[in-house]
């Protein structure tokens, strides 16, 4: 029984199985990601995670700037700060709920970048090789299967290799689908962020600019009116009647507030310019990623440029943060 089994099974297991594996290997070769594609995805993903962090930091910073300036305005009884009106209170519409909505989006972008990188680079090869070795060890215990150490090792390697090729082919297919399907949402997100950081677009950053304008004009006129009117305050001005010394003190406070506002707006303008460039680079790099996942021959220069742009944004943020500390 034993000898009959070994006589019939051995030729099949030693010729047909490696042949089938080799055919499968050939079929899967070229189905996985190229090194170039893997590098492009990895670079895009890690850079996108950093961009998301920068967007988060600057959204929060803008809200903090607005609250600080409007608190100073409230101390001067500015007529444009109204704590009962959600659009004209201390955060002037940059409320916590709106900030949270945006931070959820940047959080989703960070997670997306992380998962993209994991899917592109997680090789599972160690796990796969250990499983192949274990499989061959079990196979050697089967009655009639007589494998030398060298042959067992070779079979384990082939199984591991085929598993790897199969995984890579699946990985590429999944990545291609994700990159194609998220093309529109990512471009929409880029537009939303660009709108928020463009001071002329009447969105997030425009609130800081508008607050600066309120300090420059209505508040200045309001304070001048009190001085020129020799303390004849407007009837609906609820502030107590000002004395001469108080007027001077308020003028000093106003000058300090004006300088503070100018400095904060200047910082926001510098960041805004760099942020808009970064978002434009993100768009370009994402377009390239969309193409490169389908044709690995495309140049990576826009993905490299994106990396350089975000690096420059981080540098500027650090410089400005260091200035604030001083």
């Amino acid at each position: 029984m034993k000898s009959a089994m070994s006589m019939t099974c051995r030729p099949i297991s030693f010729l047909a199985a490696p042949l089938a594996l080799a055919v499968l290997c050939l079929g899967l070769t070229g189905c996985g990601l190229t090194v170039r594609q893997q590098s492009a995805i990895s670079k895009f993903s890690s850079t996108t995670r950093v961009l998301a962090e920068q967007v988060e930091d600057n959204l929060v910073q803008t809200r903090n700037d607005v609250v600080a300036l409007r608190t100073g305005m409230l101390a001067l009884n500015a007529g444009t700060v109204d704590l009962e009106n959600a659009s004209a209170d201390l955060d002037a519409g940059l409320n916590v709920d709106e900030l949270e909505t945006r931070l959820k989006a940047t959080g989703a972008l960070r997670r997306f970048g992380m998962m993209l990188e994991r899917l592109a680079t997680d090789t599972q090869s160690g796990e796969l090789q250990a499983a192949s070795d274990q499989f061959v060890t079990s196979l050697r215990q089967v009655q009639g299967v007589n494998l030398s150490d060298a042959k067992a090792e070779a079979i384990a390697q082939v199984i591991g290799k085929i598993g790897g090729l199969w995984i890579n082919a699946k990985r590429k297919k999944a990545l291609k689908m994700v990159i194609v399907e998220t093309r529109q949402p990512l471009q929409t997100l880029a537009n939303l962020v660009a709108n928020d950081f463009n001071p002329t677009n009447e969105q997030w950053l425009a609130v800081l600019t508008a607050t600066h304008e309120e300090i420059t004009d209505p508040l200045k006129s309001q304070l001048e009116f009190v001085v020129e009117g020799k303390h004849t305050k407007p009837e609906d001005d609820k502030s107590p009647k000002w004395k001469e010394s108080e007027v001077t003190l308020r003028q000093h406070r106003y000058e300090a507030l004006k300088l503070d506002a100018a400095a904060r707006v200047k910082r926001a303008e510098l960041i805004s310019e760099r942020m808009l460039r970064s978002v434009a680079s993100f768009r370009g790099a994402h377009e390239d990623l969309f193409v490169i996942i389908q044709s690995p021959e495309v140049s990576l220069h826009r993905i490299d440029g994106y990396y350089a742009e975000i690096d420059s944004l981080i540098r500027l943020s650090r410089i400005l943060a260091a200035k604030e500390k001083k």
Binding site: T80, N85, S87, R118, L119, A131, S138, A174, P185, Q203
Partner: protein, 109 residues
């Protein structure tokens, strides 16, 4: 008919320009407190209207952010599932190995 934020924005800009022209025409020495106060109040009202318009725009784009967040979360969930599926190949090999081991325990004498 509802007014769009673009129309409101244009109206605010137009009102602001008119107010600036009016202020320039006004002789500061001859202007009465009442006139100055009227201009000040108009400027303040315009500033508040502008903040209201900005707040409306921000809330509007917030809805778009929510849609994008959902799409990205779905894509990340999909990728997470794929990574899990890929890891299952190693698990399958281990299972086959374990099944062979088990069969060997019950081999015929």
């Amino acid at each position: 008919m509802p007014t769009t934020t673009n129309e409101i924005s244009r109206k605010i800009t137009r009102a602001s320009t008119t107010l600036s022209k009016l202020e320039k025409k006004l002789d500061p020495k001859k202007a009465t407190d009442k006139q100055k106060l009227a201009i000040l109040k108009a400027k303040q009202k315009l500033a508040i209207k502008k903040q209201e318009m900005l707040a409306a725009n921000i809330a509007e784009s917030g809805k778009k952010y929510e849609t994008v967040t959902q799409a990205l979360d779905d894509a990340s969930d999909q990728m997470e599932k794929t990574i899990e599926d890929l890891s299952k190949l190693a698990e399958t090999l281990k299972t086959i190995g374990a099944a062979i081991d088990l069969l060997m325990k019950f081999k015929p004498a």
